[in-house]
Every structure is written in C-alpha cells, then in structure tokens.
Amino acid sequence: MKYLTEYRDAGIARSLIDRIKRTATRPWTLMEVCGGQTHTIVRQGLDELLEGAIEMIHGPGCPVCVTPLEQIDKALTLAARPDVIFTSFGDMLRVPGSDCDLQQVRARGGNVRVVYSPLDALDLARRNPDREVVFFAVGFETTAPANAMAVWRARELGVKNFSVLVSHVTVPPAISAIMESPDNRVQGFLAAGHVCAVMGWTEYELLAAKYRVPIVVTGFEPLDILEGMLMAVEQLEKRTHVVENQYVRSVRREGTPAARLRVEEVFELADRKWRGIGEIPMSGLKLRAEFSEYDAESKFGLGDIRVSEPVECHAGEVLTGKLKPPRCPAFGTRCTPERPLGALMVSAEGACAAYYHLAKYRDEPAETRAAS
C-alpha cells in the first residue's frame, strides 16, 4: 500500500539492523518516547531483533498510560451523570479508575461514546442540545490542536452544552524529569514524530545540549524506527548530542505554525500530574481563562476530586525505565490485562502488557517470572 509498504520493507530492515549491530561497539540504552513507536517495536519484534546492541526502554508517551487516576475518576463521575453524554477516544474506555472503568459505567447506564475526533463530539453536542456533551481531551501535543480547534469552534458557533475534560501533557518536561532522575539509564531518545510535526524541535535542542543526550525525531513505521535507532547509535558512538530529524517527510524544525497558534490561543502551560510519576511542573496544558466556560472541571464542580495512585502499581518506575515489568510484585498475579492495577497493563503497547504476553510465549507462567 502506498506510503506504508515502502516503510516496512524486510530487506531494508535487515540491512538497517546489520548496520546498527556493526555500529554499536557496546550495548546502548535508548528510549522511544511515544506509545505509537512502542506499538511498532513490540508488534514487529524489533527489540528482540536488536538484542545485545540496543536496549529499548518504553517511554512515557502513551496518553492512555500517563493520564492520572484523578482525571479518570473525574471522567467516571461525569460519565455517570444522567444529563451527560461522555465522549472519548476508544482506548481510554478500559483504563481502570479507582473502582471501575468507562465501559463499566456504560454498562450501568452511563452514556459513553467513542469518537474519532473531538469535532465529532462537538457535532454530537449540536445534535443533542438538551444534553451536556463532554469530551475527554487527553494526549500530548499531537492531539492538542484538534482539541483546541473543537473548543475554539464551540465558542465560534456559540455551542453552550459542550465542554472538555482536559488532561493534556507535553513531552519536553517529561524528558527533563527522566534525565534528572538519579538512577536514569537512558542514553538517547527517539522523539515522537507526530508531536514534533506539530511543535517542531527547537525545544529539544535545549534539552540535547543541557543533558548532553542525542535526540532523534523519529517516525512510526518499522524502517523509521530502525533508522532513528541507527542515527542515535551513531551519535552515541561519536559522542555527539544534537537533535536530528529522521522523520523528514512529516516534520520541519518549526513544526506546524498554524496548529501551534491555535493551541496557544486556547491552552496555556500548567502543572500536571502524570500517572505513576506524580506532578511535573508546567508539564501540561489547561484551558485559558477566556475559554473557561468549556472547562468540564469547573462547569461540573469536579475540583474537589483528589485521588492518590494505588500504592501497588509501580507504573512510574516502569515508565522511567527503572523497573522491568516482570520484577513488579503485582505482575501477572494481582495485575493482569483483565484486572489491571494500572494503565500499563491495559493496552497492547503498554510495557506491562507487552511483557505479560512475552512471558507466556517463553513458556514460563507469568506468576513464576514475577516471583523470580
């Protein structure tokens, strides 16, 4: 298929893998920032093919995984209200809150709908003027422009029964937090191509210089990721630490100015909690005061909901690469894909779920691996 198959060519992949192995004089530890990249790495078995040359730590760039319990609980509260139609991207539906998830709220009568775009949620609000439509605005800089656009359009059209539950986070503060953590093992980053398609990479130039760490803006297809890995390894071997762009077909240094402007018009930087990691200063987005009437938290008075993460979920240590999932005491026993303690066990690209399935393949029951 055009624009897809050419980035999945097995022959080119093999030659890239050979080049990475020849270039690496020692094993290097890289982090892919984005959950979409984790998905490709796990689905294609790239980590296995590069064993010995590169260890990949799966980064915090999965919006499902880093949305804090508190925001999930707020979503559940809203979704249970009889006057609300709660709309969300599909993969948020199974993320466990304190007591249940959105699917279970739906089973109990909550009106929860999957949409593919926040603008679809806005349309739903226009078609249902007697209901309050709330969109769960999660994600990184990638989803921020569309979410900003929905709010901006709502104001333009004078739609009053639409609001967003914002849980937006941004990548650069997370990279800082990882690099500043005392037991950090990450030596190079594959930055998230689609985040950079919106934001460009000027912010990353500061990070690369400050932490002396190579950062390669990387795409999502197997060949993108392998090429990004090779570029990072070449930098590590040469001891350079600059930002390079592998994803040239989508990303320019300045990003997409029109999208950035719309995001800046609607959102401003704010402190945000990350699931399992805690609060990172100025690491997220909130609606600007002039758009506050579209803020579901103030509209429905959710500010009082404060929840702490379950102590047994070690998501933070996994997300920062300190703990391999099978070493988690709850792994495979009290935490499974059917009954997850945290979001990392929920989606196929969550690191815990990936290891859970791997354990099964290696003919070792997850339970014994966890205990080992």
């Binding site: 298929m1 897809l4 999945r8 097995a10 992949a13 093999r14 984005c34 979409g36 689905r43 294609q44 078995g45 790239l46 296995e48 093919l49 999965c62 919006p63 499902v64 559940l76 509260t77 991207f89 599909g90 993969d91 199974r94 809150g97 304190s98 007591d99 249940c100 699917q103 279970q104 709220v105 739906r106 089973a107 109990r108 909550g110 593919y116 775009s117 679809d120 999660v138 994600g139 990638t142 989803t143 689609h194 197997p222 909690k273 609060e279 009082d304 909901i305 404060r306 929840v307 702490s308 993460e309 059917e338 009954r339 989606s347 690209e349 399935h357 791997l358 099964k360 393949y361 003919d363």
Partner: protein, 350 residues
Amino acid sequence: MTTSPLKLVCPTPSLLNDRVQLGHGSGGKMSAALFRDHFLPAFANDALLRLGDGAVVNVGGVDVVVSTDTFVVSPLEFPGGNIGSLAVHGSLNDVAMMGARPVLLATGYVLEEGFSLETLDRIVRSMGDAARLAGVPIVAGDTKVVERGKADGLYINTTCVAVADAELSPSPERARAGDAVIISAPIGRHGMAIMAAREGLAFETTITSDSACLTGLVDRLRTERIDAHVLRDPTRGGVASALNEIAASSCVGIELDESELPVPDDVRAACEVLGLDPLYVANEGVLIAIVDERDAERALRALHAHPLGATARRIGRVTASHPRVVSLRTGLGGMRIVDLLPGDQLPRIC
C-alpha cells in the same frame, strides 16, 4: 503527590464486574468467561460440555447437529449484505465447520414497534435468497414485537439442524503439530464494512462484507476426501481469536507468517486509520482449515476450485512448542504474540 481522605466511588459501589458489558459479546476472553461462569453451570450436559460451534445429539441412530445464533448487527443493512443474509450464512457456517450437512433452518425475530415493513421485506427476501442458494429451507419462524425503544430495529435468531458426516469430523481439539493452517479468502472485510457503514465514522471506503455460505467450500473438501482436522469460520474476534481457541483446545502452538496473511489493501488502510488489527476483525465468509501437511496441497487445490476459495493460501503451521500460544513471524523476522483480547478491540489514540 496530593492525597486526601475523599474516596471517589462509582454510582453503584459493588463488585468490579457485576454487570453485562459490551465486551462480554466480543467473542474474546470476556465472552468465554460469561458462558463458563454463568451459563454452563445452569445447563451442564454432555452435548453442551463439548463446547463446539453446535451440539451433536444422537436421534434414532443418526447424529444430528444443532446450532443456534443470534444476530444484532448495526446497521441492519451494509455493503455486501444485511442482517438477514448474515443470519442465514452464520448458522449454516456454524454447522458446516463441524463437517455436517445442513438440513433445515428455523428462525426467530424480535421487531421494534415502528420498524419499516419495506426494510423488513428486503431483509427477509435476502434471507430467502441465501437459504435457497444454499439449498436449505427455512421451515419455522416466530416473531415478537417490542415497544419502540426496547430493541434496535430488528434482532434475528437462526437455528440450523444438520446431519453429521462420519467421514468429515473436524473439531477444535484435532490440530496436531506439523499441520498446515490454510485460509480460504482475504480477511477483515465484514468487520470493516460494518464499521465504515456505522454512523459517526466519517471515512469513505468501498469495502464490502464477505458474508457468504461456506457449505460449498466444505463440500469441496468432502468430495476430495480430505480429513480436515479443524474447520473454523473466524467471525467475532477474527482470525486471532479463532486460532487462539483452537490452540487452547488442541494444546498446540500456532505460528503465522505475517507476509502470508491476505489482508486487502482497503481493509489494511481502514485498519491503519482506526488503529485496529485486521487479525481481530470479524469475517463472515472466510474458512480456516487445519489439515495434515501431506494433505495441504490437495486441500488448497480443492478450495481453489470454488469461487469463495479462489485465493486460498497457507498462513502458518501448528507447532508442538509454545502450546496454547498463537504467534506471528513479522514481515521483518521478529516474533510477536497474537493473544486473545480481553474484550472489544478499541481504536487507539496514537
């Protein structure tokens, strides 16, 4: 991190899973658990305990196969078929996968008050056409009407009665290490056609459902006297779920080659956009046959002779290693697990 004594609870504070959820109908782990924990204990009997697509009961010296299925598809009409043709094909396919010869169909309908009779006519006409084409009469029917809002237009139940064939007795437990895994047609068409037709998903595609009666394909294998160890139509949950069930029932591993999987370009494109895996997307006119390696070429030739099997191909093999696990050799040579999904496949954000 901020902590406070306020503990948020859901509207009905009780057990985590005290209600039926949509995932219980997805054909995955939740469906299996629903049946095992809630139905099986109440109904337990020998025929049911075999857990096949249908039950086999001996009636006056003849092994009779009975299978029932209920259809709740939305939208009711979609490119390539409608709930009526789907209901006929679905029930016939269930017994065909047991190697049985269908004899008759019985049907039941739940109609919502206000449902268009014109639409109903179109749907039952296509049921009649599908049944005639398969040479199996619809001999009984029952209708109930419920108040407006109590059903989504029309639900159909079909029951098929068939006669077992002693010469052809495929079963999910009969896959053996070394067997070839064959698929009759490209995958993912039905599920993606439904998703594209469903309101609210604004993408245009030309995908049509593959809904078809598979008895003709099975008859080809019968005529060629091929001992199919397992036959399966990978409907809900797709090829991945069907093969997982077979791997578990036969206590074998199944290894697929990604490069051999027949995924049409339009299905792959729609799946890419929506973040879905075609291996988990429903099919309604696809047959998986697991046969002895020595019979594989003959089976492929037999399937190729039928229009529905013209592009039949091998997609993998049964292994003794990794019992109960379905794995996939990726196009790049890596390995990944193709696990049962806990519930519905959910579209991803990124």
